[in-house]
Subunit: 218 residues, 2 copies
């Protein structure tokens, strides 16, 4: 047995944990983190409450693990596919295109948008974890905008925080229209708004690089 | 007794109902409509559960009445102060400025933004009522943009639905940053984004009228 192999019961445990978290991320996206009661999640995974509590000692622990798993899914679906591109506006284009597709293709919409508003007024560890995740993602966007500005792809004087604020707003508006109003044009509206916002402050060479990242990301 | 006066017990009942709904609108803005349990609301208003159920026969009824009361408060705080202005871009300016102030000054943020994401995946009467309220407000904004376009204050060819989508996004982004991240610059970011978005598609005379509505609305 090699050192990185697990005994069978530990492996089974990890598989159960992963399966439960796939279920809870999906449930949280559709109904919110408050829907994650021990009883309901145990039933949804055909295990006993005691068995579930062996993996997640409390509802708060289940919620925190779900935020972490949702964040990992967001990274795999949105951030990782763009990571091979040059830093700057090309990668920004790929990130934005993937972000829209992520929100449009998942039942319940974008994981971050779905749970961000739910805990905003409930102090505690779950709220802090969600806030850290939203903050981290905004920092990624702002960092990419600043990098593109330094290398002349975005015009000097562009306010990175303001542009990230606007892009974030388009994603939130898209999610709300798609989820609450059933507006089938929501993703197209977000795509037009995001693309126009970035192109309006891009240099000539920046526009070409942005379009390359945007077009190839699907 | 004049025809429009109420017997004392009916008047007391109306006052109680109004007081309860002020409380529940505030609670929903901060914690969501799911926080409105009969037990908690009765305790918060120092009345018995039976007394509360006399006014609101069920939790769903309490939630629906709270949505209606929150909508009325939004109209009184945002829509009514702008209603004396000429229809078109001047009134749009006043509406947007009031909308930002409404979201920035209320604990828990904008009523519509606070509850809109909560029920988006829970089919039923409450979700339908919230969706109707959001749809109605977007229609008000789009109608004002179209009117301004017809009278030459906004450039021909401007997509009213797209502009309303963007403005809505800025409000959602503001609420999330203020409520979840505690970002004190959120309202200023939203003000800059909204003003720039409208001015970018306004005609010369439209810009002057917009600034008049915007500046006077506080």
């Amino acid at each position: 047995m090699r050192g990185n192999e697990l005994p069978a019961h530990r492996l089974r445990g990890q598989l159960t944990r992963r399966r439960v978290l796939e279920h809870t991320v999906d449930l949280a996206r559709r109904e919110g983190l408050e829907a994650l009661t021990i009883g309901r999640v145990a039933e949804g995974n055909a295990i006993t409450k005691a068995g579930l509590l062996g993996h997640f000692p409390s509802k708060a622990d289940l919620q925190l693990s779900t935020v972490d798993a949702g964040r990992a899914g967001f990274i795999a679906d949105v951030v990782a596919p763009a990571s091979g591109r040059p830093e700057g506006i090309e990668r920004l284009g790929a990130l934005l295109r993937r972000w829209i597709d992520h929100g449009a293709q998942q039942p319940g919409g974008c994981f971050i948008a779905s749970i961000a508003a739910e805990f905003d007024a409930r102090p505690g560890a779950v709220r802090d974890r969600i806030a850290a995740m939203v903050h981290e993602w905004l920092q990624v966007l702002e960092g990419m905008i600043r990098r593109a500005t330094r290398i002349g792809e975005i015009k000097a004087g562009t306010d990175a925080r303001r542009l990230a604020f606007e892009l974030h707003g388009y994603e939130l508006s898209m999610n709300l229209r798609a989820q609450l109003l059933g507006d089938e044009a929501a993703a197209a509206l977000a795509a037009t708004a995001m693309r126009s916002a970035v192109l309006a402050c891009a240099s000539r060479k920046g526009r070409i690089a942005f379009e390359r990242g945007w077009a190839d990301a699907r």
